[in-house]
Symmetry: C2
Subunit: 638 residues, 2 copies
Amino acid sequence: MNAPDPHAKLASTEKFADLLARTREPFPASRKAYLPGHLHADLRVPVRDIALTNGELVSVYDTSGPYTDPKAVIDVRQGLASVRGGWITGRGDVEHYEGRAPVALDDGQKSEDATRLAQLRAEAAALQRKPLRAKSGANHTGNVTQMHYARKGIITPEMEYVAIRENGKREWMEQYMADAGREQRLMGNPMGASIPRIITPEFVRDEVARGRAIIPANINHPEVEPMAIGRNFLVKINANIGNSAVTSSIEEEVEKLVWAIRWGADNVMDLSTGKNIHTTRDWIVRNSPVPIGTVPIYQALEKVGGVAEDLTWEIFRDTLIEQAEQGVDYFTIHAGVRLAYIHLTAQRRTGIVSRGGSIMAKWCMAHHRESFLYEHFEDICDIMKAYDVSFSLGDGLRPGCASDANDEAQFAELHTLGELTQVAWKHDVQTMIEGPGHVPMHMIQANMTEQLKTCHEAPFYTLGPLTIDIAPGYDHIASAIGAAMIGWMGTAMLCYVTPKEHLGLPDRDDVKQGIIAYKIAAHAADVAKGHPGARSRDDALSQARFDFRWQDQFNLGLDPDTAKEYHDETLPKDASKVAHFCSMCGPKFCSMKITQEVRDFAKQKGVAEAEALAAGMETKAEEFQRGGGSLYVPIKPV
Amino acid sequence: MNAPDPHAKLASTEKFADLLARTREPFPASRKAYLPGHLHADLRVPVRDIALTNGELVSVYDTSGPYTDPKAVIDVRQGLASVRGGWITGRGDVEHYEGRAPVALDDGQKSEDATRLAQLRAEAAALQRKPLRAKSGANHTGNVTQMHYARKGIITPEMEYVAIRENGKREWMEQYMADAGREQRLMGNPMGASIPRIITPEFVRDEVARGRAIIPANINHPEVEPMAIGRNFLVKINANIGNSAVTSSIEEEVEKLVWAIRWGADNVMDLSTGKNIHTTRDWIVRNSPVPIGTVPIYQALEKVGGVAEDLTWEIFRDTLIEQAEQGVDYFTIHAGVRLAYIHLTAQRRTGIVSRGGSIMAKWCMAHHRESFLYEHFEDICDIMKAYDVSFSLGDGLRPGCASDANDEAQFAELHTLGELTQVAWKHDVQTMIEGPGHVPMHMIQANMTEQLKTCHEAPFYTLGPLTIDIAPGYDHIASAIGAAMIGWMGTAMLCYVTPKEHLGLPDRDDVKQGIIAYKIAAHAADVAKGHPGARSRDDALSQARFDFRWQDQFNLGLDPDTAKEYHDETLPKDASKVAHFCSMCGPKFCSMKITQEVRDFAKQKGVAEAEALAAGMETKAEEFQRGGGSLYVPIKPV
């Protein structure tokens, strides 16, 4: 059945339009607010304000974009409103141009029949934009990267946006900071990070200039709400999505994205393969407020019918330009898989497990040649800087199991990535480094130390790592352990793992499970590092818990829906939302209730008496000691 | 409706008998095997052998007891067959006695009506046993603890059993050990633990003698399959269960236990409250192959109608004897909540969150007196040693949120627990120490260090710890991170946390989710510590993954059912179980397939050529260096 049933399509569009409408609903008790800029007045930096039942407000970082703003009118066939358009053109260093002519092959060698493809593209007609690129001089490529501006001393609107976003609302952070001032033990251990109490635009500029942070923001992705990835910022997470086996509608593909950012994905990688990938990418990028990453070699391989040996630099280069024009914000490039390293993987238990890595290894072996990605790395830099696409230097030789962790192949590639980082920085191209993978806990620190040293503090972006290999079906948990640890140690972004890892393609719920597990890991890392303000949400939630403000406890959590649902399974009545006990212990056993009584009792008796009591005990202890001279005399009075 | 409907009861019995039968099914491709003893010929130490499709066998630690042995005939109304009965009486130091006369109050002040209670007890008539206790001399209490024997130099059958169980089958471990010999990086970092390559019975004895490990094994629980808790053994996990609100049948209560040990609970705590708790406990202990722990203060509180102030030493003592006679293997005793420490919690964000801790705090304040648990600690020791009940010294002042972590109250109590450990050891009573709770990652190490120092390496038994407070609904994940880390650092047993923590009572699936998360944490800790043999299962699974032996991958995992179900959602056909690709990438993109091709290619070309290629690259690199003298000359040949 080549010709799709138009009724089926309509049904699917309606179904997913409905779903998307539900996915857009604001979080409970939450209101989207926007913070203005100081250097750049037109900034509208989003935060989510949660109103508590006791009148307090808690403000949290918000990745969900305009989708959770009821006032935002969104039509996925028109794309999101521009955030950065004026800033980009206002700099005067870009130009519109015709762009590369789209061809049928962009949607894969075995794309839909021509009619169907034309239909799909027509649906996305309004999403087609004339691309921008850097203006070039007579004998140099133009450079419009955030790093380029930073190194010139310029604070871009993107940089100020990031600074404001990282700080969030001061009023709540002050409470934490005061708290931390009292209690040294709560300050965190930054493990070598240098996180200022307040992130200034100047700080963002300096971090981007020295390559320690990136702001993935292609000039052809003006819809993006800028965010930073760097060890001195909040730890970020990435979620992967892919096209559906049978592409049904724009609504379906966009809903996946909206679902992922709703739960907290800071970045999304589009790992689509097979049919209609160019067209799907238009749908996603035009509707995404978060940076979109891709692995261009996947599409290049589609163009050569899946035969790795048939890949050429020309096809790859063409694919980079195609995707850069669409607005992809970062490219995974496996340029560290060098011919000389391939034999190092021969004795591994699971060989090469990165798709991009194995494609390049196969190419190198087939041609007895050095990788064209490595050889053309500076050509790639020239493309990246003309659009401000960031590098995500792929770890094609990452370990695929615990017993391959930290081996010679892995670290040989990492050293090359460090070398390539310097080349990219020579071109002012923003760069982050991908990391493993599968690493037992005791070997995690070595990964971070080696990366920081070898790659000169370029942001590390790891997949987990998974700490064990015996948990298929639960690898989001096995990897959240490693992710939290390496996040604490300095990793800037954590690529999520879903429960379906190693088993199948994640469905909607798997995506959510993976994201929540990684929000936990990232937040645990922020708290441990002592990121200013990170702990305020924990404190507010703990206070709500102690005060039996159930709704506040749900609403401050990462997933209010699930928390409420779990609570209601045992105590479904609304009355219990204000009850001073819960289902675990009931009214009689409630330890928090008893604590409150103890506190009231202590207050009533007075602190003086409490201290006297305590002193009395000390006297008693002294008596014991006098009585026996030994620590182990019977404690019980005879 | 006081009189239960007998038809409803019958239906419930049948329903749960059916469920129990399903819960008893052996794991796929698994066969229960038993290892014999050397010093004690009658040992039958259980392991689970998993048959792989390539003919290999993998053997794993097995907590499931006789329930997964199809040959075992089990009647929950008769209880399990005795494992240790002969060993206990064979030592000649115990005597049967009439025991404490059961009273209606044992099942709670507000127990069922007398008829119903009599009926429930009648159902368990065959489970009533005449208790054993240590024979006493003229002026001393007898002592039958494993620690007592160990300190006399005796290797009990329990100790040899534990040694064999910890080692498992040598043939698989040898592979790992050979592997580790080759690869120093895989050896693990024991963080101060001293784990021998082979656990000998002598080693177990020495660890028990010096208090660094315990073997919870009440002489009135002969059904238990002995296991060890100590930092130089495999990390263990504990699951909590409780009675149902409406007690329906023995089958229902026993099925909960069987479900928990099926998924890997090494110990189970019965935290039942309310009605019928004495009777329910008989059902559980008599049918449990794993040690059972309780918090006796919960039952004592039921006996005084829930009024903490009305507790007395006499009621508590009576409860300890009642439960010791039933065969409970360890008691949580909150003897470290001293009067002098209570005011230290007044400024906490969440006060006292331990139920036992808050009960004792309330008692102390009400009476202006030191805790009767602390004052009668040596009397408690006298009871413990007469039955070999182990202490689990409760952390009644553990933090209830991140901002209360590692505070003065918590560490004051810990110091007292260290002092009490020495008192318990003076009586040769086995002792472990409970720990938090809520601790951010950067504060975990301090907990372990302080506990090891203060409590002289008595086993640490922590609840998580939860690393953040904003994950209600996902606290099994937030805490598995902390649990894995503290397990690596030296914690001997991890008390699980379910997704319902802080929200409600866990159902059957929540219990499983909590257990699997904690098996992951415990195993990650074992791997990181370098526990000999721990990694062999990971290696076997990774090899199966690389070889596309799907069934083996499922069967070697912690939860074969879920792994298979997830796989089948995308590729349901049986044919795909042997397919050399999977649903994530399809046949074209499969990186593992490509790796195999690369490997074949390398083999075909010969190692010599591969090395020549590598050497060639080195030459090329030298050329680059000669050409430029700088690391950052353009990499691309001009």
